[in-house]
Assembly symmetry: C2
Homo-oligomer: 141 residues x 2
Amino acid sequence: MQLTSFTDYALRTLIYLASLPDDELTNITEVTDLFGVSRNHMVKVINRLGQLDYIHTVRGKNGGIRLMKPAKNITVGGVVRDLEPLELVNCSAEFCHITPACRLKETLAKAKMAFLNELDRCTIDELLNGNSELLILLARP
Amino acid sequence: MQLTSFTDYALRTLIYLASLPDDELTNITEVTDLFGVSRNHMVKVINRLGQLDYIHTVRGKNGGIRLMKPAKNITVGGVVRDLEPLELVNCSAEFCHITPACRLKETLAKAKMAFLNELDRCTIDELLNGNSELLILLARP
C-alpha cells in the first residue's frame, strides 16, 4: 500500500509552489533540481496539475508556473483523490470469481473513505504554516 | 494506492479456509485452482500465513491446511498490518531532502491509522457469516 510516485511528487510540487512569495514563479528545472527527480516524470506531473487547475503556467521568456488557487484551498485528500488510482484490490469478475458475494470490497471501501477523509482535513497551507524549518529547506539558494 | 497481490491472496485464502467445515482440510492445489492464481505465488502466501500462525499445516498423506485460530479472531486489519508494506511514501532523507521538516508524513500516518482502524473492525468470520451466496461460490464441486 503505497502512493504512486506521481502523487508523491505532485504533493511535493504543490508544497514548494505554496512556499513561494505571491506571484513569484518557478519552473520545471527548479522543481526537478530541488527534489532530485527525473525531468520527464516531473513534466508529466506538472502538466497534470495544470490540467486539474492546481497550477497556472505563465508562458513566454519570463514565464513559469505558480499555484492557481490559494494553498489553503487545496487539501491533501483532494490531490490524492484526483491523482491516485484508488482501487485497492482488483475486484473484476474475471480476476476473482467470489467478487459477486465478497464483502471484503465493502470493508476496504469504508477503510479507504476513512483514509481520504483524514487527508481531506489537511491543506497544503497547513503543511507550511509556521513551519520555518521547511521554508528554509525549500528556500532558493 | 493498492494492496499487494500477496495480501489480497492471503485474505482470500483465509476467507476460503474459514468457509470449510470444522477440521476439514484443503491444500495449495485447491486454493490455487479456486482463485486461478500462480501456484508459486500461493505457496509463498500460505507459507507466510503459516509462519504467522494464521494457518496450520497437517503433514502426511492425508494432510493439508486449515485455520489455526477461529475466523472470528482474525481481523482484516490484523492481516493487512502483518503482510502489507505500509510505508505510503518514501520519506528517507536520501530520497527527499525536505523530510526533516515535512508534515506530510504525519498527515499520511494519521490517514493510514484511520484506514487500519476501520479494517480492524472487520473479522474474516463477518465476511462469511450469513453470506450464503459466498458459501456457494466457495463450495467444493
